[in-house]
């Protein structure tokens, strides 16, 4: 795929090989990175960490390994042959679950309803997981909702918090300190080390937030506890 050929390879100390692409604003690029990641995994059988425009292969860099990585990157690869899913994530945006929503709306000169509408109306692509176990980095946030991270991070953001930071939106799978603005909360668990797989999210899949009431939140929460809740995931069609 020659349109994604603008990359550089760096040794990451003596423990990894970093592949850094130019910034591509192309949804195809995520699928391309996923295919390249699978290729590297198969060839080297070592971990590959992923971020927006990078893959980090946990193999000691040498002229041999770097040449081999370069060779693989030059190779054609079948992209988008697997179908991806859109996961519907229920979110309560009501005051008790959204400590920063009011201040956020005010700063953006929007009503809270407008923020909720814009945030929940589109599907976001999962670029990669990082920061915390199961934390999805999502692309495609409406530029009107972009807002810099807090200068002083909050010491505790609740598990399930749905938040906005910079140009990104995401969900906190566990309670954590964090600098993003919390505009809602989901009752569903996003990471279970005992489940197989522990997280339902794969880079290339999408997430769509669906606004729910406080009553629905509590209903889903009790379904989660009794083990009867299932995430609704819709298959995407790719030609």
């Amino acid at each position: 795929m020659s349109r994604f050929s603008d990359y550089e390879i760096f040794p990451m100390g003596d423990q990894g090989i970093l592949i850094k692409w130019s910034s591509y604003n192309d949804p195809e690029f995520l699928r391309y990175m996923r295919a390249k990641r699978d290729q590297l995994l198969m060839r080297f059988e070592q971990e590959v960490i992923q971020a927006y425009h990078e893959l980090l292969l946990k193999v000691a860099p040498s002229s041999t390994t770097i040449k081999e990585v370069d060779r693989l990157l030059q190779q054609e690869v079948a992209v988008g042959s697997h179908s991806s899913l859109t996961h519907i994530i229920p979110v309560c945006y009501e005051a008790d679950y959204a400590p920063d929503l009011h201040a956020f709306a005010k700063a953006k000169q929007l009503t809270t309803e407008e923020v909720i509408r814009r945030h929940s109306q589109k599907a976001y692509q999962i670029a990669f997981l990082g920061f915390l176990p199961g934390f999805p980095y999502l692309t495609g946030l409406d530029p009107i909702l972009h807002y810099p991270r807090k200068e002083k991070p909050s010491l505790t953001i609740s598990q399930g918090a749905v938040a906005i930071g910079g140009e990104q939106t995401g969900i906190y799978p566990q309670a954590s300190p964090g600098g993003w603005h919390v505009i809602g909360r989901t009752p569903i668990p996003l990471f279970d080390p005992m489940a197989n797989p522990p997280s339902p999210f794969i880079p290339g899949d999408s997430i769509k937030f669906s606004a729910i009431s406080d009553a629905e939140y509590r209903k889903i929460a009790s379904q989660v506890i009794s083990g009867t809740y299932r995430i609704k995931s819709i298959s995407d069609e790719h030609s």
Binding site: F10, G13, I49, L56, F131, L132, F135
Partner: protein, 286 residues
């Protein structure tokens, strides 16, 4: 099955093996022992596999009871310990009778210590590893925790005692602490005077734990924030206000701050033994 019971956990103690691999794509860090040299050494003396789980303690050690008899080794930072009142030498195999109470004191040189037992600790594996890391497991040990120990043939063959010297990674008095590093992916964004400033000696601040260690000195710089990128334990980041932070075993798998340096693998165990006020010299490898 023999067990060990925690009477007092110490400042920050946890069960660790050599780490949890294969799950970084889910955002799960490697975790594992901070000073692998000392942990592997202790396991070696007991003829354990090098990945046998050990108890890692930080600054002040735990007090625990052996519910069954066991051979054990203490390694890592310099510390006094006694078992039922009898002094225990570090870096040597010792024996605890059933019911014996081991008291480990405060570390005086270094920051992390290891208790290895014959057969290793057999706490539950999560995602393939016994390394404690919240939310997969509890974050640290607490009073009343029971740790099962594996069975081992150690000591059954008379006269078969493994001896070995540990060339200690602990800094000797007046010896310089050197961290070997490589340039990080964003090193070349610095001006040459900023690069020179970056490589000056630095001192460990009060802010350090299993996730990261921050130095006192700040770097004046004009670096932009970067889009979230991949990081490893040993990545040295620079925050907008100039703080220099080395990411460690429990660090997140991705980060948004410029990556200026990357620790050599051999320096990871050294940084695992640093404590507040230690002065560190960088050695840039090319």
């Amino acid at each position: 099955m023999s067990t060990v019971e925690i009477i007092r956990p110490g400042l920050w103690s946890s069960v660790q093996d050599l780490g949890r691999f294969g799950f970084t794509h889910l955002g799960v860090p490697h975790s594992g022992v901070m000073d692998s040299a000392s942990a592997v050494f202790a396991n070696g003396l007991l003829n354990n596999p090098e990945n046998a789980a050990v108890l890692e303690f930080t600054l002040s050690g735990p007090e625990l009871r052996f519910n069954g008899e066991s051979f054990f080794v203490l390694s890592g930072g310099l510390v006094q310990a006694s078992c039922d009142g009898q002094g225990i030498a570090m870096n040597e195999v010792a024996f605890a009778k059933a019911g014996a109470v081991l008291k480990i004191g405060a570390i005086t040189i270094g920051s992390r210590g290891y208790l290895a037992v014959a057969g290793g600790f057999k706490t539950a594996k999560m995602l393939g590893s016994r390394s404690m890391y919240a939310p997969l497991t509890q974050a640290k040990l607490k009073k009343g925790d029971i740790l099962p120990m594996g069975s081992s043939g150690y000591g059954q063959v008379k006269g078969a005692k493994i001896k070995g010297g540990l060339s200690s990674i602990l800094p000797k008095k007046n010896q310089k602490i050197i961290l070997e590093v490589y340039k990080g992916p964003e090193y070349d964004l610095l001006s040459s005077s900023e690069q020179e400033a970056l490589l000056q000696p630095v001192r460990v601040s009060k802010l350090w734990n299993r996730m990261a260690l921050q130095f006192e000195e700040k770097l004046q710089h004009g670096l932009p924030e970067i889009k979230t990128s991949t990081v490893l334990p040993g990545t040295v980041q620079c925050t907008p206000d100039g703080s220099l932070i080395v990411l460690l075993n429990d660090c997140q798998t991705t980060g948004g701050y410029p990556r200026l340096l990357q620790l050599a693998k051999s320096s990871l165990a050294v940084i695992g033994q640093l404590q507040t006020t230690d002065k560190v010299f960088w050695r840039l490898l090319l």
